[in-house]
Subunit: 201 residues, 2 copies
DNA sequence: AAATTAATCTTGACAATGACAAGATTACGT
DNA sequence: ACGTAATCTTGTCATTGTCAAGATTAATTT
C-alpha cells in the first residue's frame, strides 16, 4: 500500500484522491473545490481523477459516501460512550454525534445534504445514506417499541427528531445560533439535549 | 423605467440582473450559476454585472438579500391568513410560511443559509437576515410574554422552533422526508404543524 | 517466460468562466 | 455648453471541466 511517488502508477490513487479531496473541501469549501487542485495536491496530472471517478460529480459523490459512513460512525461513537442508558438517552446521544460530525466537517456535511437524495439503486452513496437513516429509524423503534415503517406515528417521531437535530446542526455550522467560536462543548451539548428532548414527547 | 434594448445604457440593469439571476438560480441551481449566463440572459455584455455587483459573490449576496425579504414576506403572508388566532397559532403559521418559501425557491433558500452569517455591519444582507430572525423572536416574545433577549428560556424556545422548522424545510427540499412530488399541501402543512408544535411546549 | 490485453496515468486541446484593464457611450451637474 | 462621473463594451489572461490520444505499467493468457 506504499505510494512510490517516482513511479508512473500511483498505487493507491483513488484513496489518495478521496483523502486529498476531503482536505480541499474542508479548507476551501465546496465553492473552491476543483478536480485539478485535488489532483495537484496529490501530485498527479490534472486528468488522472477522471479514470477513477469519471467527472467532478463522481468525486463529490465518493466524498459524500465516505462522509455518510463517518457520519454514522460519529453517531454510534456517542452512543457507545453510554452503553447502559435507556432508548431515549441513546437516541439523544446519537443526536450529539450528528452534531459532532457537522461541526467537525461542515463542508462535507453540507455536501452530503445539498445534493438531491440519490436514486435508491445500488449506488454506494444511496446505501451509505440509507444506513445512516436506518440508524435513526432503529433508535426510534427501540424508543417506541414499534417500527416506524409500520406505525405512522413512529415515522412522525423520526421526522420530528431528524428535523430538529438537522436544523440545529445546519444553523450551528452557519454561525447563526450563537457565537461561532467559544461555546464549550458542554453547553452546546446541553442545549441540543434540551431542544431534542422536545421532539420525542 | 423602460428598458430600451437598442440603447447603450440599459436603464435598470441592476434590477434586471437580480431578476434574471433568480431565474438562473432556480433553473440550474447554485452550481450552474455564472455571471456570464446571467448577463447573456439579460442581453448585456459579459462584464456588465461587475459594475453593479463587483464580483460573483456580490450578485449572490444581492440575491440572498432579496431572498430574505421575500422569505419574511412569506411568513407574514401565512400569518395574515389567520389574523385572529392566538400567539401559538401565529407562530405555527410563520413556520408554514418558512416552508412555503423553501419549497418555492429551494436554490435561493440554500444560498441564503449556505453562506456564513454575514458581518453584522450595515450590509443590506445582514439587515434583511436580521429582520427575518426578528420576526421569529417577536413571535416567541408574544407566545411567552417575555423577550428572548432578556429571558434565556425564551431564547431556547427560539432556537428549538427555528431548528425544527429549518431542518424540516432543508430535508424536505432535499427530497429526504418523503416523495419529492405528490404530497398535497394539506398533508405537508399538517405534518409540519404537528412536529413544530412539539418545539413549543 | 513471452506476448497480449487491460488498467492506469500523462499530455494536449477546447470551450466556458471570473476577473481585470482600457476604451466607448451616455447621463448628470455646474 | 462643458466637464465629470456613471454605465456598458471589448479584449485579454489564468483557471477549470471535459474529452481525445498516447505513454507506461500491471495483469492475464498462452
Amino acid at each position: 500500500m506504499l505510494k512510490p511517488k517516482d513511479s508512473y502508477h500511483h498505487g493507491d490513487l483513488r484513496a489518495a484522491l478521496i483523502k486529498a479531496g476531503e482536505a480541499v473541501l474542508a479548507e476551501t469549501g465546496v465553492a473552491g473545490f476543483s478536480l485539478r487542485s485535488v489532483a495537484k495536491s496529490v501530485g498527479v496530472s490534472h486528468s488522472a481523477p477522471a479514470h477513477h471517478f469519471g467527472d467532478a460529480k463522481g468525486l463529490l459523490d465518493a466524498l459524500a459516501t465516505e462522509g455518510f459512513r463517518r457520519f454514522l460512525a460519529a453517531m454510534q461513537s456517542r452512543q457507545a460512550a453510554e452503553p447502559n442508558k435507556d432508548a431515549r438517552q441513546q437516541l439523544l446521544a446519537s443526536g450529539l454525534g450528528y452534531l459532532d460530525f457537522a461541526i467537525s466537517s461542515p463542508a462535507l456535511f453540507r455536501l452530503m445534504f445539498s445534493t438531491d437524495k440519490p436514486e435508491p439503486k445500488t449506488s454506494e452513496l444511496a446505501e451509505a445514506a440509507k444506513a445512516a437513516f436506518m440508524h435513526l429509524a432503529d433508535g426510534v423503534a427501540r424508543l417506541r417499541g414499534v417500527s416506524p415503517f409500520e406505525e405512522p406515528a413512529a415515522m412522525t417521531d423520526v421526522m420530528a427528531i431528524w428535523s430538529t437535530v438537522h436544523g440545529f446542526a445546519d444553523l450551528y455550522i452557519a454561525g447563526r445560533l450563537g457565537p461561532p467560536e467559544g461555546k464549550p462543548v458542554a453547553d452546546r451539548d446541553a442545549l441540543l439535549r434540551e431542544i431534542l428532548d422536545r421532539a420525542m414527547p
